[in-house]
Amino acid sequence: MSENSNIQRLKPDAWLGGFLTVVGLWAAREATSFDEFSWVYPFALSAALAVLGAAIGLRAFKAGRNDKSMGDARVFLQGAVAMTLVLALWVTALDQGLGYVGPTFVAVVALLWITGIRDRRRLLVNGLGVTVGVFVLFGIIFATPLPVLEPLQILIRQ
């Protein structure tokens, strides 16, 4: 049996169990560095997480069947992963002083593209509509101080 097929046979629950065990053990180790009044409770929870993770992992190995509950990996990559990436880039842009409107418009267009819109006019019109709509709602109606483009901020301060 090839190595690839061995990997394919690993069930999602085995991965989940392993991950939870590692997180539990790491958190338990972290908890031991807290002061004498603050460590016991998080330590107990972390240890419980590690034990429960190990139990889930073991149960998955014992079950001996390939669990297909995760669904189509391609859809997962095209959907959730691509969307997270776009939104993460959008937040980074907001954080880097690129303002709200520009990065938001680009992010909206990218999200529309991910969900399957390919018509350029529709991308532009819908992208603009959503961006302006949310900007007006939060920035103007609710008076939320949205991130401002850095050079613009300098101008406003002057």
């Binding site: 958190a27 859809v75 959907g79 939104l87 969900t115 819908n126 709509g133 609710f142 101080p145």
Partner: protein, 516 residues
């Protein structure tokens, strides 16, 4: 009666009433759109609370919460696509009725049933929440700890067949709640030198992520898989007459009564949720229908257009709504995931759910209680007025644009809580984690409850142990803390029950093979 009048007076303020009306309308619209549910509706509207008065903001939330379930029945009946998860059983008989040219009847049954279930549930809330809150005022640290444990174990225990993952979810939630400074010593825990985490993970952003953003990921997946476009290509049946005959109403009364009781009872139990309610109510209605059909063989078969098949789930899913607020408003324990979001709505206004809400913010507490009743009454006529518009809207909306708009509303909303970009990161990460949990079949409800109750559980545990010089028997002492003992016994029953029934099932399953 005085407090009831106070609640109604607060609600009758024109601005507050407008917000309730806006909430009901928005909930109806959002519920009608397949893929959007009460979680998304709440996550989108939550940030609006920042700029509203407490009474207005909470009236808006009450309206949204009440009406999303009713909206979900419309596409279920017309297109065989449930608008919300709680209308997934409505589509069986509802769509069968629509295909027989009785769409109007099915829609009327759904609306009337939802209103009946909602009103019964609101009355349950009005009666039980203040009573329980009064009782809960007697609770000290020991009882509060036991109550927290009961809340968590009831949620985990109700996830039959998934107790292990339910426990993982609960523990994860409790661990997330430990992030930040401890109240006693000021020790920073799991903050990674990030000043934004010193007071804990931003609560509103966390909930917006776990509910709104995670649901968006699922929606994108649904769009990509193409499930929803299948429903869109179907021919929409004509609505026809929406008038219900007196005979049909009389026939449905027992179903409404039974399903309202089931929904309200399940709604009060933390973590049980609307899905359990619709399944139990549907099952009970099916049994009663089959008994009845022996006497009326001309009636359609169950699942092929029986009016009771629409009435039972629609009554039950709305009966869960207000009753799920009973444990939240009286004890501070959310009845289901959406009512957990209500905690965020209250927190934004500087309020904490629980018995103190009834002493410190009497007007608001009673406005919420009466708001549920009024929202359910408003829901009926509004639904009739909007049915045609909503059906047209479902087919004209671009789901792709909706994804982008909701993502922005949720994440910009998270930012608006303190005007901090860090909150967007929290919402995004929480969304990814929530979606991951769904993919790995880890239930979200225990984690939410763990996050909500974590601090309370830890503080009451530590304070109780300090009083008892470290003795754990303080929680089980029948003389000084009988309530705590009773609550912990109930918790143990919730956790042990599913394990015992699974064990019994496995014995029954293996018995014939061993006999062979």
């Amino acid at each position: 009666m005085e407090v009831l009048a106070l609640g109604l007076k607060t609600l009758c303020d024109p601005l507050v009433f407008s917000m309730l009306l806006l909430g009901v309308t928005a909930g109806l619209v959002i519920g009608t759109i397949p893929g959007l549910n009460d979680n998304i509706a709440f996550a989108v509207f939550l940030p609006f609370s920042f700029s509203l008065r407490a009474d207005m903001a909470l009236a808006l939330m009450v309206g949204v919460y009440c009406s999303t379930a009713i909206g979900g029945a419309i596409p279920a009946i017309m297109m065989r696509v449930p608008g919300t998860a709680s209308s997934m059983l409505t589509l069986i008989d509802g769509n069968a009725m629509a295909r027989k040219g009785q769409a109007g009847q099915a829609l009327s049954i759904a609306v009337t049933s939802s209103v009946v279930g909602g009103i019964v549930s609101a009355l349950v809330l009005l009666f039980f929440a203040p009573l329980l809150a009064k009782f809960a005022l007697k609770f000290g640290y020991v009882e509060n700890f036991a109550l927290g444990v009961l809340g968590l174990s009831s949620v985990v225990g109700l996830l039959s067949g998934n107790v292990l993952k339910g426990l993982v979810s609960g523990v994860l939630g409790l661990l997330v709640a430990t992030i930040g400074f401890t109240l006693k010593t000021g020790q920073p825990r799991f903050v990674f030198d990030n000043m934004n985490l010193i007071e804990g993970v931003p609560f509103v952003a966390l909930l917006i992520g776990l509910f709104g953003v995670a649901a968006l990921f699922e929606l994108v997946e649904e769009i990509l898989v193409g499930k929803r476009s299948e429903g869109g290509h179907e021919v929409i049946p004509g609505i026809g007459s929406t008038k219900l005959s007196g005979r049909l109403i009389r026939r449905l009364v027992p179903t409404w009564f039974r399903s309202s009781f089931i929904g309200s009872a399940i709604g009060i139990a933390p973590g049980a949720g609307s899905l359990m309610a619709i399944y139990v109510a549907y099952d009970q209605a099916a049994r009663a229908y089959l008994r009845r059909r022996h006497q009326a063989p001309d009636d359609p078969r169950w699942g092929e257009g029986a009016p009771e098949g629409v009435a039972a789930p629609e009554t039950a899913n709305n009966a869960v709504v207000a009753s799920s607020m009973v444990p939240l408003l009286s004890l501070g324990i959310p009845g289901n995931s959406v009512s957990a979001l209500f905690i965020a709505a209250l927190a934004i206004q500087g309020m904490v759910p629980g018995p103190l809400l009834f002493t410190e913010h009497l007007d608001i507490a009673w406005m919420i209680l009466t708001g549920f009743l009024v929202a359910n009454i408003l829901m009926g006529p509004l639904s009739y007025l909007m049915i045609n518009t909503m059906i047209r809207m479902v087919f004209s909306l671009s789901k792709e644009t909706m994804v982008a708009a909701i993502a922005l509303l949720c994440l910009t909303g998270a930012y608006a809580d303190g005007n901090n970009v860090f909150n967007i990161w929290v919402a995004l990460m929480a969304g990814a984690v929530g979606y991951g949990m769904k993919k790995f079949n880890v239930p979200l409800a225990p984690a939410i409850l763990g996050i909500v109750l974590g601090r309370k559980i830890e503080d009451s545990l530590m304070s109780s142990l300090a009083v008892s010089d470290g003795s754990w028997w303080i929680f089980l002492d029948p003389k000084s803390h009988p309530i705590s003992l009773a609550l912990l016994v109930a918790s143990a029953a919730f956790l042990v029950g599913p394990v015992l029934s699974a064990w019994r099932r496995s014995i029954t399953k293996h018995a014939p093979s061993s006999a062979n």
